[in-house]
Symmetry: C2
Subunit: 262 residues, 2 copies
C-alpha cells in the first residue's frame, strides 16, 4: 500500500515512522515548509514537495495531517482521485472531504506527539470513521497493525474526545509549566515534582479522578488556600488558582457518587 | 526507635506502613475519629486512641500528620517532653512548634497519598527541617532509609514546593476529572485517555513543560478554541477553558527561552 502524507508536523512525523516500521510504503511527504518536507522525506527515504499541485496521483492512501485551520484549503488544492483520503484531526468532521472526493475517512490517534520523542503506539486509541463500510474496515485493518486499541466513532463523538484530551493533556501540561515556573522563581529544581506527577497520572488508572482528588481545595481548607493565593504574585495565576479550587470543590461535593462509579 | 503517629489519614497511613517495613517501632496511633485510629492501629498491631491527653510519653519521635487547620491545636494539646516532634505539612512553618517544645522539625514527603493505594517511596523527595543540626541529621537518616531523595529546605522554600505541588498534582487531577465528566456525558469511557495522560506525564521527564506543550492554545488556533468553547455547556468550564488557553499562549510566547533551559 502506497501512502502520501500531507503534513510533516509532530503527528505526521511519528505516525509515518511507525507506518514504515509496519511495512507500509510512504512515497511522498508534503509540507508548505520545504525544510520540514525535506527533513521528514529524507528520514523516510521518500520524495517530498512543498507544492500541493505536485502531490503524486498514484497512492492508495492520502493522510492529511496539517493544522485544522488550513485542512480544508489543503484538501481542495489536491487533485481528486480514486484513492482513500483521511485526516488525523480530532475536531474536524469527516464531511470536510465530501464535496471533493469519493472515498474518505478519519484516522485519529489520541496521543500527544513531539517530533523528537518516540511513543509506544501499541496502546494508543485510534478513532476511525469512513464513508463506506469497506473503507472503514480498511482503516481498522491499518490501525490494528499499529495499535491494539482501534475504535469506530462518529465525528460528533470525536469532537468530545478531542475536547477531553485538551483538558487531560494540554491543560494538564500547562499545570506542570506553572509549577515549573513557581519552583524556578524560588531556585528549586522541577525534578522534585516528577514522582508526584507520575503518581498523579498512575492513580487514575486505579480509581476515578474524583476519588483520587487530594489537596486543600477538596477539603476546602480556606486557611491554606488564602495563604497560597498570597504567595502567587501573578494575577492570572491567582485567578486560575481560585477558579480551579472552586471547581474541585463543586466536583467533590456534587459529583462524588456519580464519578465514583467510573 | 519508638514512634507515635498523631493522625490516621492518607499520609499517616502510607508513611506508617513504610516505616514499619523499615523496622521502626510504631507504638501508638491517634485520630480524633476512633474508627480511623482503630483501623490503622489494628493494621499496624499497635495501640490507638482518640484522646490527645492519652498520647504515650515514652516515644522518641512524634509525627503530626493532621489537617493544617487543626495542627497547632493538636500540638498544644499533647504534653511536652524531651522527644523530637515533627509535622508532615507542606505549608506550615516549623515554628508552629517553638513555643511548646524543645526539639522539633519537619518531615515532608512530596507525594499524593491515598489510604488504599501503595506507593513506591524510594524516589519520593523528603524535605527535612529541624531546629538543631543533630535532629536535622537524625531526620535525614530516617528519611534515607525510606527514600533516595532527601533534601533539607527552609519553611519558606517548602511553601513554594507545596504550592507547585497543588498545580502539578491537585489541579492536574482536576483536569482529569473534567475530561472524565466530558466523556461520561457523551457515553465515552475514560480509559481512552489513559495512554495520553501517561505520555503527558512522561514527556516532562525528557523536556521542559513549555517545550512539551501541544494543542490549540499553544498555536492559538481560535477556530478550534471557539468550537470547543461552544461544546462546553457549563459556564465555569468555559471560564477555565478560556483562562488556561490564554495562560498557555502567554507562556508559549513570553517564556519559551527561559523555560527551555529547564
Amino acid at each position: 500500500m502506497d501512502i502520501v502524507f500531507i503534513g510533516a508536523g509532530n503527528l505526521a512525523t511519528r505516525l509515518s515512522a511507525i507506518m514504515i516500521e509496519q511495512g507500509y510504503n510512504i512515497i511522498q511527504i508534503y509540507s508548505k515548509n520545504l525544510q520540514n518536507a525535506k527533513a521528514l522525506g529524507t528520514s523516510l527515504s521518500c520524495a517530498y514537495t512543498d507544492d500541493l499541485s505536485q502531490i503524486k496521483d498514484s497512492a492508495d492512501l492520502y493522510i492529511f495531517s496539517v493544522k485544522d485551520t488550513v485542512l480544508q484549503e489543503c484538501i481542495q488544492s489536491v487533485k481528486p482521485n480514486k484513492a482513500l483520503w483521511v485526516h488525523t484531526a480530532g475536531s474536524i468532521p469527516m464531511s470536510v472531504f465530501e464535496s471533493h472526493i469519493e472515498r474518505y475517512g478519519v484516522f485519529y490517534p489520541l496521543q500527544t506527539f513531539s517530533k523528537d520523542k518516540k511513543v509506544n503506539f501499541s496502546n494508543i486509541p485510534f478513532f476511525i470513521e469512513a464513508n463506506s463500510e469497506k473503507d472503514s474496515q480498511l482503516l481498522i485493518n491499518i490501525a490494528s497493525r499499529i495499535s491494539q486499541d482501534v475504535r469506530v466513532v462518529s465525528s460528533e463523538q470525536r469532537k468530545y474526545i478531542h475536547l477531553a484530551a485538551v483538558f487531560a493533556c494540554n491543560f494538564t501540561n500547562h499545570m506542570y509549566a506553572i509549577s515549573a515556573k513557581l519552583l524556578e522563581d524560588h531556585d528549586l529544581p522541577f525534578d522534585v515534582l516528577l514522582p508526584l506527577i507520575q503518581e498523579t497520572a498512575d492513580k487514575v488508572t486505579k480509581m476515578s479522578p474524583v476519588a483520587a482528588q487530594t489537596g486543600p481545595a477538596v477539603r476546602y481548607d480556606e486557611n491554606v488556600m488564602d495563604k497560597q493565593l498570597f504567595l502567587l504574585e501573578d494575577n492570572r495565576l491567582k485567578e486560575i488558582y481560585k477558579l480551579l479550587s472552586k471547581s474541585i470543590h463543586t466536583f467533590a461535593t456534587n459529583m462524588s457518587y456519580e464519578q465514583n462509579k467510573l
